[in-house]
């Protein structure tokens, strides 16, 4: 104590005064027993830990708009509405955005993965239209029915996905898909994106940008289409009557591709 006295006196409560003040001063002196060097180290440590953890916490928060433990909601049915009249035949923004988002090859060949493609339609009178075609995220997906291992599956919120760990690469789902929406990875994969694991020998298709949806972001193609000034693709919850997509579908004539198959597609088209 005595050894600590002078320094405490120098930095502590004013010396002298009443007994009460003296008692108070004794009480006030107690915390001053801490080692300031140690406190400083602890403070620096805490600050550094904060610096280290904070971005992680922020990223964690960003990456999990839906907490990881919480399953996808059955009350939602994610879908898209493509307004073909707004789709510019010369615009490929949705395709390039998809390629960039998922690390898909830019070169388009018969063996390259194409999760979304622009299809040009010509009717009997010669009228041309252009529209994007991707996985239609069916309510009754034939790819899920035929998959022998259950690697093709439908999430509770209607998103049809492929489990990379159980896909054996039999390609039966590709035979079954009426929209040619699936691609087989024919070559070793380079330039993978952390959010989108891919692998040679597996089948893959549009995930509706599930990694973005789970962070409350829009699919890359929807965002790119809007950024290009077309707003031809509307994304939202088909089950929510108040959502813009549900209201649009209620208001305008839309169609499902191969509606005769009664698959209940999550992607709808207006203007065909």
């Amino acid at each position: 104590m005595s050894a600590a006295g002078p320094s405490q006196g120098a930095k502590g409560a004013p010396s002298g005064g009443s007994a009460a003040a003296s008692a108070a001063s004794v009480g006030a002196h107690r915390p001053k027993h801490v080692d300031h060097a140690r406190r400083q180290i602890l403070a620096w440590g805490a600050a550094m830990a904060g610096v280290a953890i904070a971005p992680g916490i922020t990223l964690f928060d960003l990456a999990h708009g839906r907490p990881p433990a919480e399953p996808a909601s059955r009350t939602k049915r994610w879908g898209m509405l493509v307004d073909v009249n707004r789709c510019d035949p010369d615009c490929n923004a949705c395709v390039t955005a998809c390629d960039r988002e998922h690390g898909l090859p830019a070169a388009k060949t018969a063996t390259s993965a194409q999760w979304i493609r622009k299809v040009e339609l010509t009717d009997m009178r010669g009228r041309k239209q252009s529209l994007p075609v991707m996985c239609q995220h069916c309510a009754e997906p034939p790819c899920v029915d035929v998959c022998p291992t259950g690697a093709s599956f439908k999430r509770a919120d209607g998103i049809v996905l492929v489990d990379r760990h159980t896909c054996i690469g039999c390609r039966y789902c590709m035979m079954a898909c009426p929209y040619k929406a699936r691609s087989f990875v024919h070559e070793p994969v380079t330039g993978q994106r952390p959010d989108v694991p891919r692998g040679k020998g597996c089948v893959e298709s549009c995930t509706l940008c599930v990694h973005r949806i789970d962070r409350d972001q829009l699919p890359a193609c929807v965002e790119a289409c809007a950024a290009a000034g077309h707003k031809a693709i509307l994304f939202g919850d088909l089950n929510d009557p108040a959502s813009e997509i549900a209201q649009r579908i209620a208001a305008v004539a839309t169609r499902q591709l191969r509606a005769d198959l009664n698959l209940g597609t999550g992607v709808r088209y207006a203007g065909i």
Binding site: Q114, E120, L121
Partner: protein, 398 residues
């Protein structure tokens, strides 16, 4: 040649044939390794034609595997002595062809190392998953059936085992046909006619394979197939060839009746390039009409013409399967009926497919597996039909 010299020569030939079979299997394995290493980009398959030459080989072998068992079924289930003598060979060929077909099918997978996943994860809504059980069950049932046939003490069980094998093989071929019948997306498939068509195809192709192997075994042993036996089996092959022709015609005619299918039928049968050529030239003429002439024309009818007819049926089977599997996928999906379509992904365009060397080698490797199992089987066990040991008068009865 005395008995010892014959045994030595036979042993030499056996090892030679086994080595040849093993070399073909090795080539198939190396091809599969090459495909696994580089990905399916080294094959002719792509995102439009997703099943190619390996599937032609595999499906031929699996369909023929169930069909070849018919010889045993006619013996055990329907009590025909001539066929019962051939039941063990029929069972062996069934196992050999099934193993060969599965060899190809498994090694063509994008991830063949995940077979354990396929064996432990099942989606029971998938006809592919059913087939995993049907194929493994077939191995087990036919193995038990062979046991009852070859172990005299179990002889009484051969009839129920044969009946079970017969029922199982019908379901198995139905399952193989259903792989395509359940595909609503593509115009070539999605027909309830396909399972019965596959069953009839299995009758013809299985019997043809059986006759080829039986001919080789008789030549090997310096024996001649008894004429009445040869006549009965030849006639049966003829009936099966006509049955396949009939159901194939019905399949195309029903397609032709639906306006939405006409363009596809025209493609397959008239202006689709290699596909009509293989259908009419390969399947109809070489694989059906020529064998029928060889079987029924009075100028023919010798053992050699029966062998030739059987080989032609096998060749025709490959032609028909190529048209069915590859041609059926080459035709573009009709996603937008009433529109012409173009895209970077082959929409509205007939896909080009040319089989590559690795995938053909893989298919041949499967045939090599079937060959090797057969050669080893007939060497170590008694599979040669024994009706030539019966009294000549009895064997001579029609």
């Amino acid at each position: 040649m005395n008995r010892a010299a014959f045994a030595r020569a036979e042993a030499r030939w056996f090892w030679l044939l086994a080595a040849a079979g093993a070399a073909v299997v090795l080539a198939g394995l190396l091809a599969a390794h090459f495909m696994e290493e580089h990905g399916h980009v080294v094959t002719g398959m792509d995102n439009q034609v997703v099943w190619g030459m390996p599937h032609v080989f595999a499906i031929f072998m699996i369909v023929a595997a169930s069909g070849v068992l018919n010889v045993a079924s006619i013996g055990s289930v329907f009590g025909q002595a001539v066929y019962k003598a051939r039941a063990p060979l029929s069972g062996l060929l069934c196992l050999a062809l099934l193993a060969g077909g599965l060899f190809v099918l498994m090694l063509d997978l994008g991830r063949p190392e995940r077979m354990v996943v396929a064996a432990t994860h099942y989606n029971f809504k998938s006809v592919f998953a059913w087939n995993v059980f049907l194929y493994s069950g077939m191995f087990a049932i036919v193995a038990v059936y062979l046991w009852t046939l070859m172990e005299p003490r179990l002889g009484a069980w051969s009839k129920p085992a044969g009946l079970a094998a017969f029922a199982w093989r019908i379901v198995l071929t139905t399952g193989t046909g259903a792989i395509f019948a359940f595909l609503v997306a593509r115009q070539a498939y999605g027909s309830a006619l396909l399972p019965p068509l596959f069953i009839v195809m299995s009758f013809a192709w299985g019997l043809a394979v059986f006759l080829v192997v039986q001919s080789a075994m008789y030549v090997w042993n310096g024996r001649e197939l008894p004429a009445p036996v040869a006549r009965r089996m030849r006639n049966l092959l003829g009936v099966f060839i006509v049955a396949v022709l009939y159901l194939t015609a019905v399949y195309h005619l029903t397609n032709l009746y639906f306006a939405k299918q006409v363009a596809f039928v025209r493609f397959i049968l008239v202006d689709g390039g290699v596909y009509p050529l293989l259908f009419w030239g390969g399947y109809v003429v070489v694989g059906s009409l020529l064998p029928l002439v060889l079987i029924y024309h009075p100028r023919f009818g010798r053992p050699r013409s029966m062998l030739a007819a059987s080989l032609l049926v096998v060749a025709g089977a490959f032609a028909l399967l190529y048209v069915f599997i590859v041609g059926g996928q080459a035709w573009p999906l009709d996603i937008f009926p009433g529109y012409r379509t173009t895209s970077s992904f082959g929409d509205g365009r007939v896909a080009a497919y040319a089989p590559s060397v690795p995938e053909v080698l893989l298919g041949l490797g499967g045939l090599g597996v079937a060959f090797l199992i057969t050669v080893i089987g007939v060497r170590v066990l008694h599979f040669l039909p024994q009706d030539d040991l019966r009294p000549a008068a009895e064997a001579g009865k029609p």
